[in-house]
């Protein structure tokens, strides 16, 4: 270990409940374990005021501890000034729209699957929208995200058009991956969605690599303003996989600008997290590698957003990675082929009562941020977007034979030289997809 090794920040022990005097260099998280009975953050008896002369007009619930105040909150743009709320009206509407889009899209996917428009393994995100929206809506376009096979909503949150994702699911050539990837491989160079991986854990090293590029660009290529952050989303099952641990080590070692987001929905197909993991508290594995580990209620988009803000800004400042465990739940089975018989109905009911969309709606309406009519308008708009996406996907063409051999190699000379001395890719049949390669 060289002398230039990273300074290991030791997280404070679990029982620490007071906010520390904040030191921007040592902004730390404390594990936030919310009890099932905790209410949505806006309940007044749990709020703690910030310093009266602070320019940051935000309240924090007691569920959020020791968050650095370096985060600059943008001034509320709405006409009515709400000093006590975590979000502005615009932000609230954005979050709501994104979650409604995720939910409607996935519901439409289920319909389309059962109508035979898409095949294979389709994994739906219903119930987990708070994590995707809470994190991804804070990112810039240049920031990267990496996901698993449960990636439709991550792609949508990042900005990939619904029609491109739906087309991809239908296997049409207008899909975001030209129909070649499918449900489990959503990629977008334009929006920096690095996939979409079918094997769990595979994407985490790729995300680590994207974070490495960000650091490389800043330090080797001297692009001083490059502060791109990468988010890696994966589940509880992945947290027992070697690639997870190897990447936690490397990310902390080199202080890579990455946030590891665990979507702990307690089930890996039919394997309960508690049956698969010696220590089920995943956030604890962060400090073991020298990074903060945070647990957050993943059914609550505002809590997720607060934690995400800090983790992302930590990474942007060059302070290194964070492990965030989001306690969440998928309302549907593992995939559309999963009969979902193993999970206890009372468990499902418990989490259904904590539906993130309902919770955000309640928060915004109760605090007079928005009216019901505005929310209805959003729902209607999203319905139209999703319907249009299906129509677009329906009328889009299937890939032709000519697409078969394209994109195997970035440089198609990789198919080699044929017996006639010419490159295979120069064969006219190559573009038809019928060349012998």
């Amino acid at each position: 270990m060289t002398a230039a090794a990273t300074k290991i920040i030791q997280p404070l022990p679990l029982n620490f409940t007071n906010t520390t005097p904040r030191s921007p260099d040592k902004a730390l998280f404390h594990p936030l374990k919310t009890t099932p009975s905790s209410s949505f953050p806006a309940s007044t008896h749990k709020l703690r005021l910030t310093k009266p002369n602070s320019t940051l007009a935000r309240r924090r619930s007691t569920a959020v501890f020791a968050v650095s105040d370096v985060v600059q909150e943008k001034k509320p743009k709405s006409n009515t000034f709400h000093p006590n709320l975590l979000i502005t009206k615009e932000e609230g509407l954005e979050l709501y729209e994104d979650m409604i889009l995720g939910r409607s899209f996935e519901d439409m996917c289920a319909q389309m699957y059962y109508r035979g428009k898409m095949f294979g393994f389709v994994h739906l995100y219903n119930g987990q929208e708070a994590v995707s929206t809470g994190f991804i809506k804070l990112l810039k376009n240049e920031d990267c995200i990496v996901s698993t096979y449960r990636d439709h909503v991550h792609a949508l949150s990042k900005g990939v058009p619904a029609r491109a994702v739906m087309s991809e699911l239908f296997g049409k050539t207008t899909g975001c991956c030209r129909g070649q990837g499918g449900s489990m491989h959503m990629f977008s160079k334009e929006h920096n969605v690095l996939g979409g991986f079918a094997f769990i854990g595979e994407g985490i090293p790729v995300a680590t690599g994207a974070a490495f590029t960000s650091k490389y660009r800043r330090e080797v290529l001297k692009e001083g303003d490059c502060d791109h952050v990468t988010l890696a989303f994966f589940g509880d099952g992945t947290c027992n996989n070697g690639q997870f641990f190897e990447c936690l080590n490397m990310a902390a070692l080199w202080k890579l600008p990455i946030v590891f987001v665990v979507e702990n929905n307690l089930w890996a197909i039919g394997m309960s997290h508690l049956r698969a993991t010696s220590d089920p508290e995943i956030w604890k594995k962060g400090p073991a590698f020298g990074m903060p580990g945070v647990h957050v209620d993943g059914m609550d988009v505002l809590k997720v957003r607060e934690v995400a803000k800090e983790a992302i800004n930590r990474a942007r400042r060059g302070e290194g990675p964070t492990l965030v465990e989001c306690e969440t739940y998928r309302f549907r089975g593992h995939s559309l082929a999963d009969p979902d018989e193993l999970r206890d109905p009372s468990e499902k009911a418990h989490y259904a009562a904590r539906d993130p969309i309902t919770a955000l709606k309640k928060y915004m309406v109760e605090n007079n941020l928005v009216s019901e009519a505005e929310l209805k308008a959003i729902e209607k708009k999203i319905d139209e977007v999703v319907e249009e996406a299906v129509e677009f996907a329906d009328i889009s063409p299937h890939p032709g034979r000519s697409q078969l051999l394209e994109n195997v190699f970035a440089d198609p000379r990789g198919f080699g030289i044929g017996p006639d001395g010419k490159y295979r890719c120069e064969d006219p049949k190559f573009t038809e997809g019928t060349a012998h390669v």
Binding site: G195, G209, N407, D411
Partner: protein
């Protein structure tokens, strides 16, 4: 994975450590290589042969010196270096040329690489560009892929090719596939390289040949270098290629010396190399077996045969043009490889030749490969797992009857 190499290479270290044994083996090898006394070939880049003196008691050429006096296209005399230095030269030139080129691997930085291919590069380019990774092949290969997708051009060094078996997930699933599954949006210009092949009693796990395992992966290219000249050229070409390329080096070839041009040159990744033109039989080979073939060729020439020797270099895809032209001329094919018999490169090559050039063959394609055994530690057994020059001579004699 706990093997540590001191000095400039396995051969040097092992030679000094086992000098007594090597003499015994040398005597043994002299019996096996029936006629040749100086077991030492000079391979000229234009394919002609000279014999030189054997300076070390080793059964393998380690000091082949090639001069390019006559037919060299270069006006300057060039400079002499060892194969690992040629690799480093190619690597350094590319790092100089493009700041996005970086190296990742175990002990590539401060240690300079287990075979010194990256020696001093960390001092020159810094710890981030020549990155010492923890021992996590799967993850740092994946990291290289992620970096390649986002704009860098990483070179992953496997300390021994066998270690890349741990990275198979990333190489197969991500390296080969992501360009396709992303619909062409992301390119993965990564180079994965490392030493493989049967060395001097390195034991089964360190003596693996992975060519056969990787060859089915769509979307990757594989090349094998065998001389300092083609090592440098292929390294540069691999780095500049937009495709993921796996560059196979051989543990026993790192100390080969050759004179290479001073001018910059890049070789074609998809082309094979004509080592020795001939008329009677086509011998296809790659990597270390090239030297066993050339050793056998000397014997064959003395016996009146005229073998055409081609170093296929590109293991995936095959250069069917060079190979085809040769088959059309000689009508007989012998494949000599160090890969395993089952499902190896030779097996694929045999299938390809039979498919395309069946009409031109006067005899079935013969493939000499390593035995399908885990490479034994014992020197005698190890020698019998790989193809030896006498076997090549016998095979040619049989084919050319």
């Amino acid at each position: 994975m706990a093997v540590v190499f001191q000095g400039i290479g396995a051969t040097a270290a092992l030679t000094s450590a086992t000098s007594v044994d090597s003499k015994k083996l040398y005597i043994l090898s002299r019996r096996l290589v029936s006629e040749t006394k100086s077991t030492f070939m000079v391979v000229r880049s234009d394919g002609r042969l000279n014999s030189g003196s054997n300076r070390r008691a080793q059964k393998l050429i380690t000091n082949a010196v090639a001069t390019k006096a006559d037919s060299s296209p270069a006006t300057k005399p060039g400079h002499e270096l060892l194969l690992f230095e040629a690799l480093r030269e190619g690597l350094e030139e590319e790092m100089e040329r493009d700041a996005r080129v970086c190296v990742m691997g175990e002990d590539v930085g401060h240690y300079g690489g287990s075979y010194k291919v990256t020696k001093d590069l960390a001092n020159k380019y810094g710890d981030l560009r020549v990155l010492d990774t923890p021992i996590a092949e799967n993850s740092f290969t994946g990291m290289a892929i992620g970096a390649a997708m986002t704009g860098l051009r990483p070179i992953v060094e496997g300390m021994n090719m066998g270690f890349l078996l741990l990275a198979f997930n990333q190489i197969s699933n991500n390296c080969g596939m992501l360009h396709y599954t992303s619909g062409g949006q992301f390119t993965i210009p990564v180079v994965i390289r490392g030493p493989g092949g049967v060395g001097r009693q390195l034991g089964a796990e360190h003596s693996q040949r992975l060519e056969s395992y990787f060859q089915s992966i769509p979307g990757i290219q594989m090349v094998a270098c065998s001389t300092p000249y083609n090592a440098k050229g292929l390294m540069k070409a691999a780095i500049r290629s937009e495709n993921p390329v796996i560059l196979f080096e051989h543990v026993l070839l790192y100390n080969l010396k050759e004179r290479i041009p001073d001018e910059e040159y890049i070789l074609n990744l998809e082309e094979a190399e004509m080592v020795r033109p001939g008329e009677h039989i086509t011998i296809l080979t790659y990597s270390r077996m090239r030297y066993h073939v050339m050793q056998a060729a000397k014997t064959l020439v003395n016996k009146g045969y005229d073998p055409e020797v081609i170093d296929i270099r590109s293991l995936k895809p095959f250069d069917l043009h060079t190979i085809g032209n040769s088959v059309k001329k000689t009508h007989r094919v012998l494949i000599v490889e160090e890969c395993m018999r089952t499902g190896g490169i030779g097996a694929s090559l045999t299938a390809a030749i039979n498919e395309y050039f069946h009409d031109y063959l006067d005899a079935p394609v013969v493939c000499l490969s390593s035995q399908d055994v885990p490479t034994p530690y014992a020197g005698t057994l190890e020698e019998w797992t790989v193809v030896q020059p006498t076997q090549i001579v016998t095979a040619v004699e049989q084919l050319c009857r």
